[in-house]
Symmetry: C2
Subunit: 389 residues, 2 copies
């Protein structure tokens, strides 16, 4: 009748460490309880990776209780019991009548739990950046005695520095991403449908690497001529043509954690312009990685890249990357000039050097790296080249 | 230097028809302009399917202009020019400096465009349910002379009745979903890793069916023993065991449109309880489909199902389905008792009969159907059985 706890990606002590960091920040901000609504932050604090965030759910962290309380849809409660480190008594399923109901929704159940925990008149952190206005107003009107404090992105900032456990999982994800690139290089050929290449890539991302399966398929973007000036389209119904180009971005996933990589594929000899851009970007990538060390800023890394490609006659409009971890992009540090975030050991970034120079021209290369005690360790390791097929 | 418009899934007249319906509703609500932020509504009105909604973007529909204006991140503008029916002059890319910027973001560019279009002091519809509180407050503070009207889900309600063009695309998606189920039945076997089965399923969903590739991989949920009481987990690191069960949910995708299907697989002979539940659900499914006709309500369909399985000794806690279309679930009509939404020809639903009875016991079966002029046409057609492997 009951579901058992499943295998855990991290020990309980790791979750208690994460939670302690969150509670420390709660103390700094003078709040008694925190409503964690962002699904990536919920994964971080519990290990829950089921895809139920399209309906209301929240993790309640109280200063007065060791374990958080997870309030979610009744049908998702068994997944929470199975996947997370939480005692089953701390998993609360709200009734299905709150789904597709125009009067009340799951956030009413979350608020009920806040009241039952005796927190209705306390300092309460909310992730306003992740809540719709309607939901934020529900919290305000149903909890008139609480003093609501904006906690948006605070847990995400705590996530920026990974533990060695997390780095080890991200290495597994990076190996899967590499396998995806290598498989792409094997199968991309004129006459193939893009969809058939994508079939091979996604299958590889599911099978994983080194005996560790992918645990999800992250975003894959397959931008082929004449779409090599685009960056976020999936793929097309087209057949791959001779003398064309493909810009590929993909990620490997383990237990919610993503490592991302980009590579460019040239069918036939690359144009002179493409080759020159590739060389500029590779030089910039090396210089950027050489700039990474604790104490340097995110801005320093971007500046090093930008100055290098400028010497080669190119510029890049978009940022050079961003913090990466659970479900890809973290909404915190950016590798862009002016970002004063100081690099610390075990921060991880997607050094994203995709450069869409014209509407119809772009080139991509990227690596996922971590900051070490003295420099950068690149986690992805597929051949760092312009693939000529 | 420029990117060309790509092949279009729908003719321009189809988009003008959709837009006319939206403008009619805008007229009813007395607004001059609408800010469409929901990515599924943007797909509906433009054909844009690139995955850029993790940063701010919006489609501005003005009563005074035939075509909407699409404001999005500069790096995504080429995809909008390529994928949509809009004139390139109506695609506005905002600068990359608004990304990862704590002071301003892309919604500031959206508001700038509203001002430039002379709409700053007019009636303005916003999808408040899709906007964070921070963003909603930005609109209020930067547009003090506008009268803001909540337009949440109004476009989604317009989407509920599909055109024959859309139905035809959903038929293609349904054939892909069927292919995924059939492939699963071919490859699921004791000793296989779940990830290797998923590799085959996702590859099939990418390759598509009848010469029409899948254009994306939608959610796939592969819930195996001892997780058959869960519904939204991807898959696990496990090897498939003899005498176990798998509950599979997947969707085929064409140009953003999804058709979904669920089937249950029994490794070895099913338990008596599983077989009885299967028979109850199949009986309920037939009765539910028999209830579908224009003029009946969503509640009628749910009631027919619920009464039937009750006669077999079972109940189902969750709703019996929901409107389906672009990117799966539509936030409108629910097949649940009490939902008074009247069925109309060319509405499409996922008749979702997944029934998670205990934490450790569940069974799934579902079909995607459309309402016809006299009944239901089931779009999915994989064998409607409990697969015994």
């Amino acid at each position: 009748m009951t579901i058992s706890r499943g295998p855990q990606a991290f020990p309980r002590t790791e979750y208690l460490r994460r939670l302690a960091a969150v509670k420390l920040e709660m103390g700094h901000r003078g709040i008694d309880a925190l409503v964690v609504n962002n699904p990536r932050n919920i994964t971080y604090l519990t290990g829950y990776t089921a895809r139920s965030a399209y309906v209301p759910q929240a993790l309640l962290v109280s200063m007065h209780k060791e374990e958080p309380t997870f309030v979610l849809r009744l049908m998702d409660a068994p997944a929470a019991i199975h996947q997370t480190w939480l005692d089953r008594g701390n998993v609360i399923g709200y009734p299905e009548g709150l789904i597709g109901n125009s009067e009340m929704d799951g956030f009413d159940a979350v608020i009920d739990s806040i009241c039952e925990l005796g927190l209705a008149d306390r300092g309460l952190g909310l992730e306003f950046g992740d809540l719709s206005m309607r939901t934020a107003e529900k919290f305000k009107s149903r909890l008139p005695k609480a003093s609501l404090v904006d906690f948006t992105n605070a847990v995400a900032w705590i996530r920026t520095v990974k533990s060695d456990f997390e780095i080890s999982i991200m290495r597994e994800a990076a190996a899967i991403a590499d396998a995806g690139i290598i498989r792409a290089a094997e199968v991309i050929a004129p006459g193939m449908r893009e969809a058939d290449v994508m079939a091979e890539i996604t299958a590889t991302l599911a099978r994983g690497a080194n005996g560790k399966p992918g645990t999800d398929i992250a975003n894959v973007f397959f931008c082929s001529s004449p779409r090599i000036g685009t960056c976020h389209i999936r793929w097309s119904d087209d057949i791959i043509r001779p003398d064309s180009q493909i810009n590929l971005e993909l990620g490997g996933v383990r237990h919610g954690y993503v490592a991302a990589i980009m590579r460019t594929f040239s069918l036939g000899a690359p144009s002179d312009r493409l080759r020159r851009l590739h060389e500029a970007e590779l030089a910039g990538l090396e210089v950027a990685l050489g700039t990474v060390r604790p104490g340097a800023t995110c801005g320093d890394v971007a500046k090093a890249f930008n100055r290098t490609i400028e010497r080669h006659g190119f510029t890049k409009e978009s940022r050079c990357g961003y913090a990466i971890g659970i479900d890809w992009t973290e909404p915190t540090a950016s590798l862009r000039e002016g970002d004063m975030t100081e690099l610390k050991p075990n921060m991880t970034f997607h050094l994203m050097l995709g450069n869409w120079i014209d509407e119809d021209f772009g080139y991509v290369v990227s690596e996922t790296f971590r900051v070490t005690s003295s420099g950068a360790e690149v986690l992805t390791s597929a051949p760092r080249k312009l693939f000529e097929l």
